[in-house]
């Protein structure tokens, strides 16, 4: 063989080897060929835990191998279709960085480390510290911050121990302001899932909420029903969101001026008398005050504030009025924006009242839940000091504990709270300024416990970290939401817990037992609780494990008679346009518009939102969802990109008004945002090194929110008042 030929041959061999195939066929059949004859997989019912929408689902396993998770076809939350995140739920189990051992903070050689310990050691440590706090200060000096379906186990533990300071970010960082605004107007907040009857609406109004990126399952389906039905879709958003791309009217509003737009809409409806006078006089109070209040706020006035033309304001107001009562205002979630959020929700609620949509087809239907009694336990001790005593003097109409108030009262030697238990919520990325406050609180608190599935940022502040198993490996309490069709759904384990991880109910019971609270935890297995509760409504766990979800007939009508409302729980029993409750508490009884701060030259409004692939800051390390969206991108208008000479796809850092610099983030230059605003998806830019996939990818919007606009009525942390500019990242 000639040398040259040899070289030629070897290079040919090398190239085929590199490309992987060679000239022989593959020795095994393709995946689809194997699947053609595969036996059906085993199906176990669950309730998805990737977000709070709680879709009933089915886990498909073959032996110990988790194959896929699909929606339960009998479930109205999913209709057999999980969303992108729920479909990727197997990544919650398969995350290679999961917590699998209890960890205890110990000092060794002058530095602190987290050392794996036995469950007994970890639980005894917690019980000792909690006993000491109760003895020295009283149990009410202990607080819990919780989220998700397992939160109830730790709410129960906290109440049994003797504290009612159990806060959820779901209030002050999410729904609190909107629910308070609706409560003041209609005597109740909106439900979750929201009772928006979009599938029957002739007009759907979204103010800042971005259904589409916001992938709350049945809500997306009913929104697309409205699109399919050619309902009018009105989307108010500084960004051309997915919903805006489906809308016949996109109103690219100047950030922070929503109340101005809504006052002008009311002005048009009243000036043109586009309301049902009989309905208003029978069912509402404060109409005359409202009419006088909105008279000056003409569409021409609002144009100057909002940038939406008077013609557009009039046209959209007329569309709403013509569709009424089949016109629904989606109240949005994560509604803590500008510090006037209760009033913004009030404006939305007042418009809903003017158009008479409460309890009407195509408006807000009347939700109902199943009357499932709680498992009988002794009554809880009454805490000497309630969360109310700390909160209401600062935020008089807070209807639930406020996370940021708990944190503020955990800082310093004289702080009220001495211990903190955090369950399944990543506070440092959830509460603006939360990371700094936690760092301070960690210096003075006697105990911080973090219970989590993954080594989130929160676990970095803990004295003890308890590893919970994923939702696919445990029982939890029944799903029983107020909704259109009352139902119960059950989460059951499809797989054995990995490593030493344990279910939340077990952890709560073990801590309770060590605190002498056995009487509050009379079950040996949580299945007993679920089964007892189901027995009370004529079912059993054995039966529900077969179907996963069970529907009950409604006891009350889903809609009111046209022109009527059920008696409301407001002081007047009617819809309150004018709120004497607000007036008595020293607030504006009718929503007032305050012009928002304008960004300094060269700075842009920092807007943020959701992506269909991720939930909050909890899924970036999920290996399935990571592949769909490994990092967030910052949306910048082409004019701004040109001015700063920023190329599409390049990396920048965001610099806020207080000099805080973000991690590097990739740029998307797009026409789909107002030039005065940038937008990015929340939940990225993780700093916890244990999250190997998510670590250092993308920018963390929460860290840039150093200017917090507190809602004086109920304490939510308005997060939209921050501005950013750009620092170009040199890339090699």
């Amino acid at each position: 063989m000639q040398r040259r030929e040899f070289l030629k041959l070897s290079s040919a061999v090398a190239s085929t080897a590199l490309l992987g195939g060679g000239l022989t066929a593959c020795s095994e059949p393709a995946e689809w060929q194997k699947m053609m004859t595969e036996a059906p997989a085993k199906i176990t019912p669950t309730v998805c835990n990737i977000c709070f929408w709680s879709c009933a689902a089915q886990v498909h396993t073959r032996g110990n191998r988790l194959w896929k998770i699909t929606g339960n076809p009998a479930d109205s939350h999913s209709e057999g279709r999980l969303c992108t995140r729920g479909t990727g739920g197997i990544g919650a189990y398969a995350d290679p960085n999961r917590l699998l051992k209890p960890l205890l903070r110990v000092s060794k050689g002058g530095s602190q480390i987290l050392e794996p310990v036995s469950w007994d050691d970890a639980l005894n440590f917690i019980a000792e510290r909690m006993t000491k706090i109760a003895a020295e200060y009283g149990p009410e000096h202990f607080a819990a911050m919780v989220h998700g379906a397992g939160a109830q186990h730790f709410l129960h533990l906290a109440r049994a121990y003797g504290t009612d300071s159990v806060a959820e970010p779901a209030f002050a960082q999410c729904r609190g302001a909107r629910d308070t605004g609706y409560f003041l107007t209609f005597g109740q907040g909106l439900a979750s899932p929201e009772q928006t009857d979009m599938e029957n609406a002739r007009c759907v109004v979204l103010i800042g909420t971005h259904i589409g990126e916001n992938l709350h399952n049945s809500q997306v389906r009913t929104f697309t029903d409205a699109v399919r039905n050619d309902a009018h879709i009105i989307v108010v958003d500084p960004r051309f969101s997915v919903a805006a791309s489906k809308a016949d009217h996109w109103l690219p509003i100047r950030p922070g001026t929503d109340i101005a737009l809504m006052l002008a809409w009311m002005n048009v409806i009243l000036a043109e008398r586009r309301f049902d006078a009989a309905y208003i006089s029978t069912n509402t109070v404060g109409f005359d005050e409202l009419a006088a209040h909105v008279a000056p706020f003409t569409p021409e006035w609002a144009y100057g504030e909002t940038g939406i033309t008077a013609a557009q304001i009039r046209e959209t107001a007329r569309l709403m009025a013509m569709a009424a009562p089949a016109c629904v205002f989606h109240p949005g979630r994560h509604a803590a924006w500008w510090g006037d959020d209760t009033q913004r929700a009030r404006a939305m609620a007042i418009l809903s009242g003017l158009l008479g949509i409460w309890g009407q087809k195509g408006g807000y239907y009347l939700p109902e839940k199943v009357d499932v009694p709680p498992y009988p336990v002794p009554s809880y001790p009454v805490p000497k000091t309630s969360w109310r005593d700390l909160t209401l003097k600062q935020f008089p109409l807070a209807g639930a504990p406020v996370t940021n108030v708990v944190l503020e009262n955990s800082i310093g030697k004289d702080a009220f709270y001495k211990g903190l238990l955090v369950y399944e919520t990543n506070l440092p990325m959830t509460i603006p300024n939360g990371a700094q406050q936690l760092a301070q609180a960690a210096q003075s608190l006697d105990l911080i416990v973090a219970i989590d599935v993954q080594p989130s940022e929160m676990t970095g502040f803990a004295d003890v970290i308890l590893p919970e198993c994923s939702y696919l490996e445990r029982y939890d309490g029944l799903r029983n939401d107020a909704e259109r069709e009352p139902s119960v759904a059950v989460r059951t384990p499809a797989l054995r817990p990995l490593g030493d991880s344990k279910a939340g109910w077990w952890i709560a019971k073990q801590i309770g037992g060590r605190l002498g609270l056995d009487a509050f935890f009379p079950w040996s297995d949580y299945k007993e609780v679920i089964d007892w509760q189901l027995n009370q409504v004529g079912l059993s766990l054995l039966e529900l494990e077969k179907t996963g979800v069970h529907y009950f007939p409604r006891k009350t009508p889903v809609y009111s008679e046209p022109g009527t409302i059920p008696r409301l729980a407001t002081p007047s029993g009617k819809i309150e346009f004018f709120s004497s409750t607000l007036q008595e508490a020293g607030f504006d009884p009718l929503p007032r518009y305050t012009a928002p701060k304008v960004p300094p030259s060269g700075y842009y409004h920092l807007n943020y939102g959701r992506a269909p692939q991720h939930s909050f800051s909890r899924t970036q390390n999920n290996p399935v969802l990571y592949q769909l969206m490994p990092e967030n991108v910052v949306w910048i208008h082409p004019l701004v990109a040109a001015q700063f000479e920023i190329a599409n796809g390049s990396y920048v850092r965001l610099l806020n008004q207080d000099g805080i610099v973000s991690n590097k983030v990739r740029v998307r230059v797009t026409e789909r945002t107002r030039p005065d605003s940038v937008w990015l998806v929340h939940g990225f830019g993780h700093e916890a090194r244990g999250l190997v996939l998510a670590y250092g990818r993308g920018a963390n919007d929460a860290a840039l929110m150093t200017r917090i606009l507190y809602d004086p009525i109920m304490g939510s942390t308005g997060m939209r008042g921050n501005f950013v500019t750009f620092r170009k990242e040199i890339t090699v």
Binding site: C26, A30, E38, P252, T670, E671
Partner: protein, 180 residues
């Protein structure tokens, strides 16, 4: 030939990539690869804009150039239908089909080296079920069925609604249709 089609409604598609996710789970698609993908097309200037999302995949062409290009018969029509599959036991990984596909819908499976692609979830279709992407779509924007049957949802939608296919000029007769 049994004639299957997929009809995707761009009016209601929200671009959420659930179709990609469900496909990857259903078909055990290896890390880093996917058989379907979502394209966003935005036109216009702020504030007069139009954005369309399109879930794309193999078009299961009635005249599939990939099948013609395959030297070993690995690329083939399944069960006398237009569903194009690759029999890995006959595939040498020569990539002639990749060159012949107008849709860039084929990929090299790792680590085996055979050519992978969307199969319309033939393992489900054989039992009369929808492909995983269609079955999961939370917007109910995707439909699957027989074009031979004039009463099927896909036939009815194509009759009633303005629609288009990708690269019809190739003469491949693609069978993934997009409703405007």
């Amino acid at each position: 030939m049994t004639h299957y089609a997929m009809v995707i409604d761009t009016k209601t598609c929200i671009g959420c990539t659930d179709c990609v996710d469900a496909c990857r789970m259903e078909n055990n698609v290896p890390e880093g690869l996917c058989y379907d993908w979502v394209v966003e097309i935005t036109t216009g200037r702020y504030p007069v804009l139009k954005t369309e999302f399109r879930s794309e995949r193999c078009n299961h062409c009635s005249h599939a150039t990939c099948v013609e290009a395959c030297p070993t018969g690995a690329s083939q029509y399944w069960n006398d239908s237009n569903i194009v599959v690759v029999d890995a036991t006959k595939c040498t990984g020569c990539k002639a089909c990749i060159a012949a596909c107008p849709y860039d819908a084929r990929l090299i499976m790792q680590p085996q080296g055979y050519i992978g692609k969307c199969t319309f979830c033939v393992q489900r279709v054989q039992y009369g079920m929808d492909p995983a992407c269609v079955a999961v779509c939370p917007a109910h924007a995707m439909h699957f069925g027989l074009l031979d049957d004039p009463t099927s949802t896909v036939s009815r939608l194509l009759d009633e609604r303005d629609n288009y296919t990708l690269h019809p000029e190739t003469g491949n007769h693609p069978n993934v249709f997009y409703l405007r």
